[in-house]
C-alpha cells in the first residue's frame, strides 16, 4: 500500500481493540480491553473500535458495545474460522493500513502474543508485550506513578502535554517496571495481560447502539502457510484463578508431603469458597498443572483473599499476586520475603497451621 505512511503520526486516530473469539465465543479479556480502551479513547477524544475476525461472528459483536465500544469492525471469512497467524495477520494489517488507528490493543493470550509481533513487524511499528497499565493522559500517569512507584514524582520534570500511550509492564520478573512509548510510528501497539484491566458494567443500551462495520476481506487459501488439523479443548476443567475471590496457593513448602499439602489447601479453599493455586516451583515439579500457576509467567490475580502456604515469595510469584486485597502467609521461615507483603502472617509449619485455620474459618463463618 503506497499510501500507508506509518510515520505520519497525525494521520492516525481512534483506539482499536482486537477482540479474540474461540469457537465463536468472545474471550473474557475482550471485555477488559474494551473497558480499558474506552478510558483511553475518552482521554484522546476519539472513537473506540473493536476488531472482530472469524467466520459468521457478526452476531456476537453487539455485546462488545455494552462495555464501551462505539463501533465493531467485523471481518468475516471461512478462512478466519480457526486462528492462523497468516490469515489473521493479513486481514488485520490490511484493515489497519486502510483505516489507520492510533492505538491497537491485543489481549496477551497465547494467540495474541503470536499475532501481535507478526503484525507489528509487518507494519514496522512498536509493540509492548504483556502490559499491566496504560495511560495517555499525563496527570493520570503521574497519579499512577505516585501510587505504584518509588519515583520522586513531584521532584521530576514532566512534559504535561505528552499524549503518547505510556505502556507500563514488569521486567526482570517484576523487579523493575518500565513505561514504554512508541513516539515515531503508528499504530502504537500493546498486548495486555489478561485479568489486569477492570471490566466496566455491561450497558444494554450501548450494546444496542453499537455500529457494525464490515470492510471487504481479501483472503485466499494461498495466503495461509499453516493448516490447523484440529483444535482440542482440555478435557479436564481448568481452574479459574482470574475470576476467583479466594485463592489458596501452595509452594515448595509442601515438598515433604505433596499430596497431603495440596489436600489441605483444597480443604481451606473449599471452606473459603475459592480455588487452589501454586507457585512456579509446584508447576515445574509437576505437582500441579500449569493452569494453577500464579506469578510473572503464570496468571496475575487480585482476589479478596490470597493465602500463601509454604511460598517463600520470590519476586516472580509476588508479581502475580501482590495486588490481592488481603494476603495471608504461612511459612516456617520468618525471614521469607512473602511476609514483606503479607497483611497477616503466621510463622509455622503449614501442615500444622492449615487444618487449624480451616477449622477456625469454619467456626468464624458459622458464628456470623
Amino acid at each position: 500500500m503506497a499510501t500507508f505512511n506509518n510515520t505520519d503520526v497525525a494521520a492516525f486516530k481512534d483506539v482499536w481493540v482486537f477482540c479474540e473469539q474461540r469457537h465463536g465465543k468472545l474471550m473474557p479479556t475482550d471485555f477488559e480491553l474494551i473497558s480499558e480502551g474506552r478510558k483511553l479513547a475518552d482521554d484522546l477524544g476519539v472513537k473506540l473500535c473493536g476488531l472482530l475476525l472469524g467466520d459468521s461472528v457478526e452476531g456476537i459483536a453487539k455485546e462488545l458495545g455494552g462495555y464501551g465500544a462505539d463501533e465493531i469492525i467485523v471481518c468475516e471469512s471461512p478462512l478466519l474460522k480457526d486462528y492462523t497467524t497468516d490469515a489473521y495477520a493479513k486481514v488485520i494489517c490490511d484493515v489497519i493500513q486502510e483505516l489507520k488507528p492510533e492505538v491497537f490493543l491485543i489481549g496477551a493470550s497465547n494467540i495474541g502474543r503470536d499475532l501481535g509481533p507478526r503484525c507489528a513487524a509487518r507494519l514496522h511499528t512498536g509493540l509492548c508485550a504483556d502490559c499491566t497499565h496504560l495511560d495517555v493522559d499525563m496527570p493520570k500517569y503521574l497519579d499512577f506513578l505516585r501510587n505504584n512507584s518509588t519515583l520522586d514524582v513531584e521532584g521530576s520534570k514532566w512534559d504535561m502535554d505528552d499524549r503518547n500511550l505510556k505502556m507500563t509492564r514488569p521486567a526482570f520478573g517484576g523487579h523493575l517496571m518500565a513505561s514504554i512509548i512508541c513516539p515515531r510510528f503508528r499504530p502504537c501497539m500493546a498486548t495486555v495481560r489478561p485479568g489486569v484491566m477492570k471490566k466496566l458494567p455491561f450497558d444494554q443500551a450501548k450494546a444496542d447502539a453499537v455500529q457494525i462495520v464490515k470492510p471487504a476481506v481479501s483472503l485466499t487459501v494461498d495466503d495461509l502457510h499453516t493448516e490447523v488439523l484440529e483444535t482440542v479443548k482440555a478435557a479436564k476443567k481448568l481452574v479459574d484463578l482470574i475470576g476467583a475471590d479466594y485463592i489458596v496457593s501452595v509452594g515448595r513448602g509442601i515438598s515433604k508431603n505433596v499430596e497431603g499439602g495440596i489436600k489441605l489447601a483444597e480443604e481451606l479453599a473449599a471452606e473459603l469458597g475459592g480455588v487452589v493455586g501454586g507457585s512456579r516451583a509446584t508447576i515445574d515439579s509437576g505437582w500441579l498443572s500449569g493452569d494453577h500457576q500464579v506469578g510473572q509467567t503464570g496468571k496475575t490475580v487480585h482476589p479478596k483473599v490470597y493465602v500463601a502456604l509454604g511460598i517463600s515469595g520470590a519476586i516472580q510469584h509476588k508479581a502475580g499476586m501482590q495486588d490481592s486485597e488481603c494476603i495471608i502467609a504461612v511459612n516456617k521461615n520468618d525471614t521469607a520475603p512473602i511476609f514483606e507483603i503479607a497483611d497477616y502472617g503466621i510463622c509455622g509449619d503449614l501442615f500444622k497451621v492449615t487444618p487449624l485455620l480451616t477449622e477456625a474459618v469454619r467456626a468464624a463463618k458459622a458464628a456470623k
Binding site: 521486567a171 513516539p183 499453516t226 482440555a234 514483606e340 463463618k365
Partner: protein
Amino acid sequence: MKIIVCVKQVPDTSGKVAVNPDGTLDRASMQTITNPDDMNAVEAALKLKDETGCMVTVVTMGPPPAMGMLRELMAMGADSAVLVSAREFGGSDTYATSQILAAAIKRIGLEPDDIVMCGRQAIDGDTAQVGPQIAEKLGMPQVTYVAEMHKTGDTITVKRMLEDGYMTIKVQTPCLLTCIKELNTPRYMSVAGIYSTYDKPLDTFNYESLKDDSLIDPATIGLKGSPTNIFKSFTPPLKGAGVILEGDGKETCEKLAGILAEKHII
C-alpha cells in the same frame, strides 16, 4: 537440512536480583544463564540431529562474553555457532533485534528444508516477540508455543498449546518454531562434547559483516532505530508491612479468622 537455533544469555532472575539506586538492573552482581526456553529449542534441534543427521547452528546476539554460552551449547552437540555483536546493535528493542537476527540468519544461509527455532520467551524481558518478528522479516510461517513436534519429509506436525487446550498444526519448511518447556528435557553437555567444542567453528558477525543486508539500516536498528523507547523505568514500592501473628496454634488461627470475619473479608 539444518536447524538454526536463536538463543539468548540472560540474568538468572530466579535467584537474588539486585537493582541499582537509579532503577537499572545490577547485572554485574548476577549470574547469567542460557534462557530456559531456548534450552528446549536447542534440545529439539539436537533430537532432530540425532534422527536425521542434520546440522545445528546456534546464534545469539549479545556482548562477547556470550561466547562462553555458545561453547557450552556446542558441547551439548551443536555443530557451529555465531555471535552477533556490535556497538551499533546495542539498545535494540524486539523489532530491531529481529531485523538483526534475520539478517544474521540470511548470512548463515537458509535452505528450503531448514528450520529456525527459538525459545518462547526470555526470562529477562518476557516479551515472546522476537521469534514471530524474525519469521515475518524472513517471510516464513511461524508456529509458537510448540509442545510436541514430528517431522516427515518437509512437513512438520506440531502441537501448539493454548490456555484451554491445544491445536495440531501442519507446516512446511522453511519455518520458525518457538518452543516451550513441555517440549523436552534438555540434555547435559557430554565429556566428548566438551573436548570437541573448541574445534567447532564459532563465527562473529559484526556491523561490517551484516551492513549490506537491507534489514540493517541505522534508522531501524539499535537504540536510535528501535520503534519503542523507555519513557520511564522504576521500582515498585513495597507494600506496607503487615502483622506477623504470634504463635502457630489454634488460638492464633482463631484470632486470624476473627479478624477476617470482623473486617467482612470472609
